[in-house]
Amino acid sequence: MTVTQQAPAVEIDKVAVRFRGKKREVLALEDVTVDVRPGEFVSIVGPSGCGKSTLLKLVSGLLKPSAGAVRLLGGSVDGPRHDVGFVFQRAALLEWRTARRNILLQAEMRGMPEREAAQRAGELIEMTGLTGFEDALPHELSGGMQQRVALCRALLHRPPVLLMDEPFGALDALTREQMNVELHRIWRETGTTVLLVTHSIAEAVYLSNRVVVMTPRPGTIAEVIDVDLADERDYAATMSLPGFATATGRVRELLGAAGGHE
């Protein structure tokens, strides 16, 4: 996909976030500036507690910055935005709804046509390997299954912008790889703009156009790394490309990680 010179889909401009707790004030983000082009896939990696989840909540308008401004799809963000699909870090399922009905919540809230929604939900359930558990309640599902339900829910309405907070954290290696491939395919086919928080450097590099590496709290941007890979990528083959090694190496270096998990 060729990225043209359009206005950015996401503009985060000199943003700072300061939380005030009972006893403590926490500066979670400081002077964060990122632009994401329409149709771009950007991953965010950084140490635990550096403000990644906070950043996604800013973009969706669930949180207001203490300083700076956020723009999404050309409009300034000053309230919850519903032109996004959001996967929270916790699965956040409704305990009284079955897996399928948790997914369909998205459709019901948006008033999507029922037939279309049901069909799409069926496809996503199959894609994520939840077949057979459509009618299970959340407490009857394993941790990874719950996470997949939340993923399906965020994808149901084919959102123009996808915000995903460690959507694959509770999945085993194989399932995770399959999900990666699927997500990559969906992204290429639909031109969705994606912001993905992940702890897997390989995943970040495999999926993204660019990887944003953050510093420990207060979260600032350490570096934005361009991934020099074609948009169409074979999973196994990509891993052995020099562009992949360069990018992962640089990310690992910035994070100070030895690379055991990547």
């Binding site: 519903h82 959001f86 409704l94 809230m109 948006r110």
Partner: protein
């Protein structure tokens, strides 16, 4: 954790279910029987004067002698109670919803509701008669006023206890307030609401009776009032027994609705085959 027996994987057959039912329910019956036995013994052997406590025999005789009379008055009270409860439920939920929607409305409305609650209905009931006359209205109004508050309080707590992240999720879905309410807030607050409803339904009975005390020649309240005036304790107890039965039946109905509407809740989940203990 509560200890429970291990179950086999096979589905229970009808006979097993019956045994299980018996196992579950013999205790209340045993209790009832014991209570009855004590009551009987105490009155039979003259431990308590008859004007203080009639014998069970005399009490049931009183009902039996006037079955039609009791049926009529029970029906009146039941009707008032149900009407009062229904109105209290609707108004209470509405009030709670409005109050949760806006902190400003809450701050304006709460003192008003609180005021309506803390004024003892028993004390102002006579005024209702002055204001509303002797018909059904004042009695239902008293029932509503008494049953209303628990519904509001529990519903407000319930609506506010919703996981904030679920509400954030809803707002990313562009959900209207109504949809968020219907699909998230309301179901999530059901456990709270039902504990309010259980209290409310029993209070609605009391409300109807209080209403009948102050104005009305019908209903179990007036039966009790007259019996009290004549010191006719068998009749008084007969009234109380019927009234209690009414209360118990309505309470059980609410519990049943609870079981039906929220089987998913932790407090009511069916046990899984491999049981946690």
């Amino acid at each position: 954790m509560v200890e429970t027996a291990v179950r086999t994987a096979a589905r229970p057959v009808a006979r097993e279910r019956l045994v299980a039912l018996a196992e579950r329910s013999w205790r209340p019956f045993a209790l009832l029987a014991a209570g009855y036995a004590i009551w009987w013994a105490v009155t039979q052997f003259g431990l308590v004067a008859a004007y203080k406590l009639p014998s069970p025999g005399a009490t049931f005789q009183a009902i039996w002698n006037e079955v039609g009379y009791f049926a009529h008055h029970t029906w009146v009270t039941t009707f008032e109670t149900l009407l009062g409860f229904a109105v209290a439920l609707v108004l209470g939920v509405l009030a709670a919803v409005v109050m949760v929607t806006s902190a400003e409305i809450e701050k304006t409305l709460y003192p008003l509701l609180l005021f309506a609650q803390v004024v003892p209905k028993v004390a102002i009931a006579p005024l209702f008669v002055v204001w509303l006359g002797f018909g059904l209205t004042p009695r239902v109004v008293v029932a509503v006023l008494i049953a209303f508050f628990p519904v509001v309080v529990s519903m407000v707590t319930g609506l506010k206890s919703v996981d904030p992240e679920m509400l954030q999720l809803a707002s990313t879905m562009g959900a209207s307030k109504v949809k968020t309410f219907v699909k998230i807030r309301f179901p999530a607050s059901l456990p709270h609401l039902f504990s309010g409803l259980k209290v409310a339904v029993t209070l609605a009975v009391t409300g109807a009776v209080v209403g009948e005390f102050v104005g009305g020649n019908e209903g179990l309240g007036s039966v009790i009032l007259q019996a009290n005036g004549n010191l006719d304790t068998p009749m008084l107890f007969a009234g109380l027994v019927v009234l209690s039965l009414l209360g118990v039946v309505l309470f059980v109905a609410v519990e049943f609705a609870e079981q039906l509407l929220m089987p998913w809740h932790a407090s009511r989940r069916g046990e899984t085959v491999t049981v946690t203990y």
